[in-house]
Amino acid sequence: MKAWLRKDGRKGIRNVVVVGYLVECAHHVARIIVNKADDTDIQLIGFPGCYPNDYAMKMMEAICTHPNVGGVVLLSLGCEGFNREGLKDTIESSGRPVETLVIQQNGGTKTTVEKGLLAALRIRTEIAKVEKVEMRIDELIVGTICGGSDGTSGISGNPAVGYCFDRLVKENASCIFEETGELIGCEDVMIKRAATPSLAKEIDACLVKAARYYEVLGYGSFAPGNAEGGLTTQEEKSMGAYCKSGESEIVGLIKPGDIPPTGGLYLLDVVPDGEVRFGFPNISDNAEIVELIACGCHITLFTTGRGSVVGSAVSPVIKICANPETYKNLSEDMDVNAGRVLEGTATPQDIGNEIYQQVMDVAGGKASKSEELGHQEFILTYKHFEPIGPACLPSAVNIQTR
C-alpha cells in the first residue's frame, strides 16, 4: 500500500486537513468553513470546553499530528483557556502546515470564515504535493471497539475481529483494544496474556480501577436480558467483548494519546485516573474512536449487533455487522456481514479473513462505507489521566522505532 509520508516520519493512509475549534464559541465558524469547503478531506474536529484540561490538550495534539492529517486550521474565539500557542507549536514542530485564526482579532464571523476557508484550501493544495511512499503492514495501527451490541456480537463479529487481530499481530502491526469497563470477569484470563509479570500487575490494577469507577457511577452488571439472550455468567458476557482482542500476547498498556512504540497487541485504558469526575468515562462510541485515533490508529474496526451507522473524522471506520437481520436492514452502512456465521454460511475465521482484506483495501485507499456516506463524527470532552508507568510498554531492548 502507498501512504503519505509526513515530515516527522509517520505514514498516513489519508491526507486530511482538520479544522479544529478550541472552544464551543468557535464551533460555528469552524463548521461553516468545513461546509463551504465541501471537500471530504477537509474535516471538522474540536474541543468545546472553555476551561483548560491536560487530557484535551494531549488529545488535540495527538489528533492534529496524526499521520492521516496533513495540515491544520485552528479556530479560537480568543478568550478561552485552551493553550492555542502550545498546540500550534506542536503541530509546527511535526512539520505540518498550521494556521490559527482568532475570531476576536479577525473582525468576527464573516471575515474569519473567509480567511479560514482560504487557509484550509491553501493547506489542502500544499499537502496534495506530499510524497507517497510504500507502507508496510507492520507500520499500521488498527483499533477495535464494539457499539450497539446484542447477543450475536459475541458469536460472530467479535471473534472474527479477534482472528483478524491475530493475523495482523503475526505480521507485526500494532493492534489496540479497549473498553476496560466491560472486561470485568476477564482479569485472570487477561493477565495471563501479559508479556511480563509487571505488565500483568498494571493490567490488573487498570481493571480494578475500572470496576471501582463504574461502581461509583452506579452501573449494573449482568442484566436479565443477557440471560434471555443465552448468556449465563458475567465472565461469559465480558468474554464476548474481550474476544475482539484475539489470542496474541498483550505487549503493552497505553492511555489515550500514547502511541504504541512497537507492533503487537495493546490494551488501551480509557477509564480516567483519580477521583470520579467529569461524568462517564466515554459518553458515546465516538469518544472511544477518537481516543483510538489519538493513539495513532489508521483504521478502527467497529462491531455492531443492533446496527450503528457512525464513522469518524481523520481515520476510516470499518463496520462489521454481527446480526444477519440488522445487516439486511442496514447493509448500505456495513462493510462486513459477520451475520453469515449465524446463517451457517461462514465461520468466524472466514469473516476474520474478510475483515483483514477490508483493512488492506481501506489502508490502500478504498473508502469504507461510512466514508462513502460522509460520516465524520468527532467528540472530545473533559477527562483526567496520570501518565502510564514504566512497566506498561515493551522493554527498550525490544523497541524498534516506529
Binding site: 447477543g151 450475536t152 458469536i155 460472530s156 471473534p159 470477569g185 484470563v189 452488571s221 449482568f222 436479565p224 440471560a227 434471555e228 439472550g229 443465552g230 448468556l231 449465563t232 455468567t233 458475567q234 465472565e235 461469559e236 468474554m239 464476548g240 474481550y242 474476544c243 489470542e247 456465521v341 449465524l342 446463517e343 451457517g344 454460511t345 465461520t347 468466524p348
Partner: protein
C-alpha cells in the same frame, strides 16, 4: 466440525459447548460432530449446547476460556444455561431474581457476594 449441524458454531477448539445460531426445536435429531443427538428442549439463538458430557464442577469453556462451572452433570447435547452452570465470579440473575448457585453437595458458593449483590 465439518459434520456438525450448521445451526451450531464452535467458537474455539478447546470449547466444550456449541453456540446456537438459529433456533433448534425440542425432539429434533441433530448431528454433533461424529454423533447424532436428540434435542430435549428448544434452544434459542445465542444459547449453548454441550459438546460432550460434562461432570459436575467441571469448567465450561467458550472462546477457549472458562466461563463458569457445571453445577450438575451435563449430558452431551443438553442445553447449558443458568440451571446447570454457575459463574465463578459473581451470581447471575434472571427476571425472577438471583439464580441458585448451590452445588449438589450442599456447599453454597459465592454466598458473600450473593448477599452484597442484593
Amino acid at each position: 466440525m465439518i459434520n456438525t449441524d450448521s445451526r451450531l458454531v464452535l467458537l474455539h477448539n478447546d470449547d466444550n459447548i456449541f453456540v446456537c445460531c438459529q433456533k433448534i426445536f425440542s425432539g429434533e435429531s441433530i448431528q454433533l460432530e461424529n454423533h447424532k443427538a436428540i434435542i430435549k428442549t428448544d434452544i434459542d439463538v445465542g444459547h449453548k449446547l454441550a459438546r460432550n458430557n460434562i461432570n459436575v464442577t467441571e469448567k465450561i469453556y467458550k472462546y477457549g476460556v472458562s466461563i463458569g462451572s457445571a453445577k450438575t452433570d451435563i449430558k452431551k447435547a443438553d442445553h447449558v444455561h443458568l440451571h446447570n452452570i454457575k459463574s465463578d465470579y459473581m451470581p447471575s440473575h434472571d427476571r425472577s431474581g438471583l439464580v441458585d448457585d448451590s452445588l449438589p453437595d450442599g456447599n453454597l458458593n459465592n454466598t458473600s457476594e450473593k448477599e452484597n449483590f442484593k
